[in-house]
């Protein structure tokens, strides 16, 4: 179920502005890949091209190829809706549906996929909430609004919602930046467990977090404001944080800029 991602020659635009330029990388299944880099370097934009969410922004368009195993996500006739059912996403700020209960939030994606039987839904909702380490905290309040949970619980609810539809890949756009350290730790532990089932890509501003959770790290940078972001290098996390091959990476990681 976890798939490999091969990106080649990918550029993304907002109207006439090129946000990221000519990015190529491979992401192995069942690994965690972290994207780091200064603000505005296009790492979130790049992440959003991996499930075709970039193009929902007005003026957003993409050139290049993203292969999921052997299927080009940007191939002719590929439906972005079905891409997003295969590649799940968790956002920076927890965004459970505010009018839905905890249960309905997790079941939302399943219902879109046509799962109707109550017993099936019950099973998958419980499995997903357990998978997101949230079951014990919410099992007595499944019918309460999802927006009533704490920030960290809401984010794990969003993760449960995303994994309920059994995606091939899970994208996380700074999933902990709105959370306190305890909740962050809970999410990081969860990422460690989830990578046994999913290919995970995570954008983070927190370099310790990248070092803690990821197998591979990609460093993005931009030469100046208004210039497109570029992939500087991608390597094993250990190597990036000890002995990167590019000087700019070393400077960024050691805090000499950015």
């Amino acid at each position: 179920m976890a798939k490999r991602i091969d990106v080649s020659g990918l550029s993304a635009y907002y109207g006439g502005f090129r946000a990221i330029d000519d990015i190529s990388m491979n992401i192995e299944p069942r690994t965690v890949t972290a994207f780091i880099g200064p603000s505005g370097c296009g790492k979130s934009t790049f992440l959003r091209t991996l499930n075709r969410m970039h193009e929902v922004t007005p003026g957003g368009r993409v050139e290049g190829k993203v292969l999921l195993d052997d299927e080009n996500l940007y191939g002719p006739g590929v439906d972005p809706v079905s891409v997003r059912r295969t590649v799940g996403m968790v956002f920076q700020r927890p965004n459970p549906f505010p009018t839905m209960s905890v249960y309905d939030n997790v079941a939302a994606g399943l219902k879109l996929n046509g799962v109707k039987k109550k017993s099936d839904l019950d099973t998958i909702v419980e499995k997903s909430l357990r998978g997101a380490n949230l079951w014990n905290e919410v099992k007595d309040r499944l019918n309460k609004p999802g927006s009533g949970l704490s920030g960290g619980q809401q984010q794990r609810l969003c993760i449960a919602r995303a994994i309920a539809v059994e995606p091939q890949v899970l994208l996380m756009d700074e999933p902990c930046s709105a959370l306190d350290p305890i909740s962050t730790l809970a999410i990081e532990d969860l990422i460690g467990e989830l990578k046994e089932r999913f290919t995970i890509v995570i954008v983070t501003h927190n370099m310790q977090q990248a070092a803690r959770v990821s197998d591979r790290t990609a460093f993005f940078n931009l030469s100046a404001v208004g210039q497109p972001g570029k992939l500087i290098e991608i390597d094993d996390t250990e190597r990036i944080f000890s002995n990167p091959s590019v000087q700019a990476t070393e400077d960024y990681i050691s805090g000499r800029f950015g």
């Binding site: 997003r84 059912r85 956002f91």
Partner: protein, 329 residues
């Protein structure tokens, strides 16, 4: 030198004294705003008192039951008048207007906020705004001279195929369509802009992150609207509809021009009979004597109360919405 003469007291003393200093600007402004507030209350209270006193005077001399009598003969001796037909006509025509206008308005609002490209959305919003700017007498003339003759076909069709529902049964299928139903259609057009505009604003306020949550799960555009936009906007749509309902209930000229009024309470909405509060007031005011005017005021008071209730309900819903949208913005 000039500065010291203007500021004779030492700085510390001035600072402490400042708590008690009244500045003329503050005084004038607070007086003005307080005065405006009081004036508004006085105006509201005097309207209510005026209506109530005159209404009580009329109702106490009514020889029919004010609530259940059909006809309106306030000038007769003894006076016999009641609001049954008027209340029924007002409410039924408003319900018809709402049934037609709300779905269309929500559709237009969704189209403007979520489907139309920007260069189409702004002119469309503008046209909808223009609809609101047309004076109601113009709608009335258009309704009487254009809509009524052109609705004969629809009336015959409704009578033939939906006549079994009783509601759409028409005594004289080919007769003029000067009915409560036609009034409802006209009112629907008139309340369309306000419902559309308020709904459109609510739809635009739906946080982007809620829509992205649905999109990222693999929702289509319609599923996104169903999962995140409509639930978020539901109370907003309700209050928008209430505002439209308020206007439909009170509309006068358009109704008076179109409706062929008769004091008959009929469930057949296509029959050219019935009346509404404001239509009745306009129609009877000219010929009414002193007492007849009091009677009309009594009917106006009932309309006033109904409108107040509708607006109160709309406000209650808006207030509730505030509370819940703060839960997760």
């Amino acid at each position: 030198m000039a500065i010291t003469t203007q500021n004779p007291t030492p700085p510390t003393a001035a600072k402490h004294a400042g708590a008690n200093v009244t500045r003329p600007g503050d005084k004038i402004f607070s007086g003005l705003s307080r005065g405006s507030g009081i004036l508004l209350l006085v105006v509201m209270a005097s309207i209510a008192i005026f209506l109530t006193i005159r209404a009580i005077n009329a109702i106490s001399k009514d020889h029919g039951n004010f609530l259940t009598t059909f006809e309106w003969n306030a000038n007769a001796n003894p006076p016999v008048f009641g609001i049954a037909v008027l209340a029924y006509g007002t409410i039924v025509s408003s319900i018809i207007a709402m049934a037609i206008a709300v779905p269309i308005a929500v559709g237009i609002a969704l189209f403007i906020s979520h489907y139309a490209p920007r260069r189409l959305a702004s002119p469309l919003s503008y046209i909808v705004d223009l609809l609101a700017a047309v004076p109601s007498i113009i709608y009335g003339l258009w309704g009487a001279l254009f809509l009524v003759p052109h609705l004969t076909g629809l009336n015959m069709w409704l009578d033939e195929y939906l006549g079994w529902t009783v509601v759409f049964e028409k005594e004289d299928p080919q007769g003029a369509a000067r009915s409560i139903f036609t009034v409802g259609i006209l009112l629907a057009i008139m309340i369309l802009p306000i419902i559309t505009n308020v709904s459109r604003e609510v739809f635009r306020q739906v946080p982007r992150m809620h829509e992205e949550a649905a999109l990222a799960l693999g929702a289509t555009r319609w599923e996104t609207i169903r999962m995140s936009v409509l639930p978020f906007a539901r109370s907003g749509i309700i209050s928008a509809s209430m505002l439209g309902l308020g206007r439909a209930l009170g509309e006068t000229m358009a109704v008076a021009t179109v409706l062929s009024a008769a004091p008959i309470l009929s469930v057949h909405v296509l029959d050219p009979v019935g009346g509404t509060f404001s239509q009745n007031i306009v129609a009877k005011f000219g010929e009414a004597n002193e007492f007849g005017r009091d009677a009309l005021i009594a009917s106006g008071l009932v309309l006033f109360v109904i409108t107040l209730l509708v607006n109160g309900a709309a406000r209650a819903i808006i207030a509730k919405r505030k509370e819940y949208s703060g839960a997760n913005a």
